[in-house]
């Protein structure tokens, strides 16, 4: 089991979600996040004073999926979340020790 954390542009959420569901991913967690990588922010003006807004809105998706599905999910994200510009986001993958369904205590990949 692996966890995919994908930080993407908020405007890409719908497209990425659809692509993941089509790829067979059945569950995901969506968080509103703020942050930046190499993408600089933008400047705003308030009362003549210029200040830069570095902390940009992003969407973070968290998926825990079976090993066999990981590459399919990554491809789905890569195809739909990108614009070719800086600020498209990143995908992080980590290993998950266990997964448990709260309803019936199912464990392992069956719980996904």
């Amino acid at each position: 089991m692996q966890k995919i954390e994908a930080i993407i542009q908020p405007s890409k959420l719908d497209a990425v979600k659809e692509a993941l569901i089509e790829a067979g991913v059945e569950g995901m967690t969506i968080l509103e996040a703020r942050g930046h990588g190499r993408q600089k922010g933008h400047t705003e003006f308030y009362r003549g004073r210029e200040y830069s807004v570095d902390v940009l809105p992003k969407i973070k998706l968290e998926l825990v999926i079976a090993d066999a599905m990981v590459e399919r999910a990554v491809q789905a994200i890569l195809k739909t979340a990108g614009t070719g510009r800086i600020g498209d986001g990143k995908i992080f993958i980590s290993r998950i020790d266990n997964a448990i369904r709260i309803r019936n205590d199912e464990r392992g990949e069956a719980a996904l």
Binding site: F45, R47, G48
Partner: protein
Amino acid sequence: MRWVSARTTVFFSGIIGWTGLLQAQTGSVNNAAIQQHLQQLDQAVANAQLSADNAWMLVCAALVLMMTIPGLALFYGGLVRKKNVLSTMMHSFAMVGIVSVVWAFVGYSLCFGSGTSFIGGLHHLFLRGVGAAPNPAYAATIPQSTFMIYQLMFAIITPALISGAFAERMKFSAMALFSLLWSLFVYAPMAHMVWGKGGLLNASLGGAIPTLDFAGGTVVHVTSGVSALVCALYLGKRLHYPKEPMPPHSVVLSFVGAGMLWVGWFGFNAGSALSAGTLATSAFVATHLGAAAAAIGWSLAEWMRNGKPSALGAISGAVAGLVAITPAAGFVGPMSALAIGFLAGLFCYFMVVKVKQRFGYDDSLDAFGVHGAGGTLGAILTGIFASRVINPIFKDAHGNALPVGWLDGNWMQVPHQLVGIAIAWVVSIVGTLVLLKIVDLLVGLRVAGSEEAEGLDLTQHGEEGYDWEIAAS
């Protein structure tokens, strides 16, 4: 005339009919009866005028109160950080409570009672003698109580405006005490000098140095704006200002507030005609055009400087125009109003964007940049543009209208305006400094650094403005 009652019409028809009948019968014997009816007619017409003026003035009083709550509360509230929104709104709201009580006890008397050239007396202490009967010195067709309550709304908003300078760092107790004292020791003398009977600067009641101030350019805006600057300098800058950006948490709230200020300002300016006649119309028109031109002026300046006209800039410009037209509203024509507004938009933009940066004072919500500077400019321009065609306030011994402003033929008015402005500046600076010192010694002015960081809503009021916690349900 819509507001002539049916009863009056009946009287009139009755008289015509009756007169005809009696002439046929008895000739001049019923002169006395006719006289009596004519007197009743006169009274009915006077009552009708009183009703019209009183209705208008009561509405105006309500409009001006709306300028404070929620107009100014929203305008200022939106401009501060989220953690201080309630505290900022409380600055306005507290004024309504505190100043109203002080006004009823002694404020009205000090402003509008007969006294010296500088301050009124205690004749109207506890509103004694203030009732249904008009006070002809001020407004002959409305109850003095209406005049009193209308003026109260001005007394309320003036200290509320100052709060823009010390937002996000002043103790609530200090603000309350300071504002209470300020309304007695700075506002009352200024209001009396410009508007009170016997006041040194009163243009309509024979003051020694007639200063034209139709609705409060000097009395309200210069005093509050200059006092605001003093407060900003005395209290010092907010923590981490100007390094840390402190943008408004809700320009939307400020937008709504500004809209209410614009509409309410019709009560502020047009209501200062103290009657529902043509002068009110003139002031209404001038007010609106001044605001419109100023919004454009500020927006143009901002567009050229930053490449984009901001929403906040547009509404700030409108407010600046409303401030500047305030002393001029009932003295200038529509074209002059446009000019005054446009100049105010440019001037106040410059004050807020360049001058504030240059000198580095933290006038958080630009109370000085908009009200102090805009009021000063407006008062000067009033001396230039005031016209007897709009308002023949100066008359000679035969009742002929004399020139009012510079372009009208009375260049002396400009120096008079400058004297009035200078007095307002001095009274504000000295009064505010003394009062700040006293309040500082009594309760302390500024919240602690940790409280300022945590936010005044929590530390001063134990509340949060918005309860958007994730796990509430």
